[in-house]
């Protein structure tokens, strides 16, 4: 059955209203406070610990994002790994059920628009709000860094920073889609928020524990005979590591961590990353051992993570879309 008209009619109107709502809401004040606090702390730590290393470190600006003081081993990017989902859930958990609870849904859907427009407009508005916060934070950290460190960032550092912004927004998109899915499934905003937070807890804290256990469980089933006998080739190990990694990557948190590590640490790889780089025909012969990856090589390395997050957001959004299309609008 072909539908008449464009599914996007009205998307702009919904987007504009929702974005304005977000920016004027109390939630935005909370996000602003977070941005300022986090930004100031990061710059302060940089002033304390990084200032002296400016001359020694080629990527001093990137260290702003990845440096963690020994007393408190959480770096800026790691902090965002936790903060972004929380903010995204805060923006999306009542997107759809809120309309039902305010009894505005049937009035809105009796206007000449498709449900697509409402869902897409709301998703994009949430994403834009999140991106606004991230950009503000990014500018604060880069600007503060500039003042404190006394040197401008190199072009490559800026490019890596921007790549991080894009990746972080995609990561936010995954959680926004999860939050909106919950807001479609559950009529109660509290249940929706709680479920989304539960999913976040599961993937952030439990999955990294569960995934290796699952891998250990299936190892005897998937490993070639010679590995079990104790004589594995490098290819075998790489293959098995890939499987383990694949299981880990069910968690968006893990994928995001891989991605920002890839962007921010051109000169620091894990054993496994080095092996993967060597084996990757696109990268291998161009990597000179001991020297940092070029920006292009880093992008190639994190491209799968990025597409995985975008695809994940789209899949989850589609799930929500399908169940929203079938809902009866009685309020």
């Amino acid at each position: 059955m072909r539908r008449e008209g464009s599914p996007f009619t009205g998307t702009g109107a919904v987007f504009a209203k929702e974005y304005a709502d977000h920016l004027g809401s109390a939630r935005m004040r909370v996000i602003e406070a977070l941005v300022v606090i986090v930004g100031v702390v990061v710059v302060w730590v940089a002033m304390r610990d990084l200032k002296d290393k400016v001359t020694q470190d080629q990527f001093i600006f990137l260290r702003l994002f990845t440096y963690a003081p020994e007393s408190n081993p959480v770096n800026f990017a790691g902090l965002l790994t936790f903060l972004i989902p929380l903010v995204a859930i805060g923006l999306g958990f009542d997107a759809i059920n809120g309309e039902f609870n305010r009894r505005t849904m049937s009035r809105v859907l009796s206007q000449p628009i498709y449900r697509d427009a409402l869902l897409i407009g709301k998703f994009l508005a949430g994403l834009a709000t999140l991106a606004t916060g991230l950009i503000a934070l990014w500018l604060l950290v880069m600007g503060g860094g500039l003042i404190v460190l006394g040197v401008p960032p190199s072009g490559e550092e800026v490019a890596r920073g921007l790549a991080f912004l894009v990746i972080a927004t995609a990561y936010g998109g995954v959680w926004l889609a999860i939050a909106m899915l919950c807001s479609i499934i559950f009529r109660s905003a509290a249940t929706s928020a709680l479920t989304a937070l539960g999913i976040w807890l599961f993937f952030s804290f439990l999955w990294p524990v569960i995934a290796p256990a699952i891998f250990d469980g299936i190892l005897p089933l998937i490993a070639p005979q010679r590995v079990l006998a104790g004589s594995a080739t490098a290819d075998d190990v790489a293959g098995l590591l890939d499987v383990q990694q694949l299981i880990m990557r069910f968690s968006p948190t893990v994928v995001f961590q891989e991605a920002w590590l890839g962007v921010f640490s051109p000169d620091q790889f894990t054993e496994q990353q080095i092996m993967r780089i060597r084996l990757d025909p696109r990268l291998g012969h161009r990597v000179i051992p001991g020297s940092p990856l070029s920006f292009g090589q880093s992008l190639l390395m994190v491209w799968p993570q990025f597409t995985f997050m975008v695809a994940g957001a789209i899949v989850i959004f589609t799930l929500g879309y399908v169940s929203f299309q079938r809902q009866e609008v009685r309020a």
């Binding site: 059955m1 539908r3 008449e4 008209g5 009619t9 009205g10 702009g12 109107a13 919904v14 504009a16 209203k17 709502d21 004027g24 305010r102 009894r103 505005t104 049937s106 009035r107 809105v108 859907l109 009796s110 206007q111 000449p112 628009i113 498709y114 009866e328 609008v329 009685r330 309020a331």
Partner: protein, 316 residues
Amino acid sequence: MSDDLVIEAKGLTRRYGRGPTLAVDHIDLAIKKGEIFGLLGPNGAGKTTTILMVLGLTESTEGTVSVLGHDPLREPLQVKRRVGYLPDSVGFYDNLSARENLIFTARLAGIDKAEAGKRIEESMARVRLTDVLDNRVATYSRGMRQRLGLAEILMKRAEIAILDEPTSGLDPHATFEFLEMIRGLKADGVAVLVSSHALEQVQSVCDRVALFNKGKIALQGTVEELGEQVLGLRHDLLVEADGQDIAARLGKIEGVSAVEPPGSGRGLLVRADRDVTAEVVAAATRDGGRLRQIRAIEPSLQAIYNRYFEGVKDAA
């Protein structure tokens, strides 16, 4: 489909779940251009479900519905562009002003900005909310929200207005005003489909009504037609006259079945099954009698409703 029909439903049915009961059970509806059509019936009779199917907000299980010549499920935008809907206990964005709420709706409806501004002023004036146009909707009373919903329909210049229990929860004066506004819609040539429990109000504004019972339309037509079907053909009169033995004289007229004091007020209620007006006048003025007042009693929807549902209960 004939030209002056704006909504036409045939065999429209909706089933929830797998049970044998149907929320709406093979109903036929035909609503004409410029008429006010009332949907009546007890709670859960299927009025709202019918409205949702007409709007395409829920799918029908069986049957067809055509709104202004379009199928609401296949061509939803065509239908929604020309139909205004005021849902049961309508909600607005409380954090926005009435004007901002209407601007948002206008954008969704694809009305351009300048035009929308003009229409908003106009329609808010018609529902007498001009003074509070820029107040937040959070400060609106229930009656004001209801009128704001109506303003939205006016702003859209809808050809059909569908109102689900628009007067529930309104005080008598607000109800009266609201009914006036519904008549105003009709004067503009808008077809109005209104569901309600308030029988007197429905009777006072509706040209035709459909009486719902357990998902079926039990009766459909003008109030007089319904009265005939349920109460039988009646020509009751209220007579007020001075004179000796008026009651006895009137009772002797052929066709008069009873003469009794009316439920309230003065005079006599003459129950008749044919038109006895001339005979009553003659009898009342004979022998120096003076006729003060005579008027036909129209069947009240309340009486029809009560009688019908008593009958249904007895049959069950």
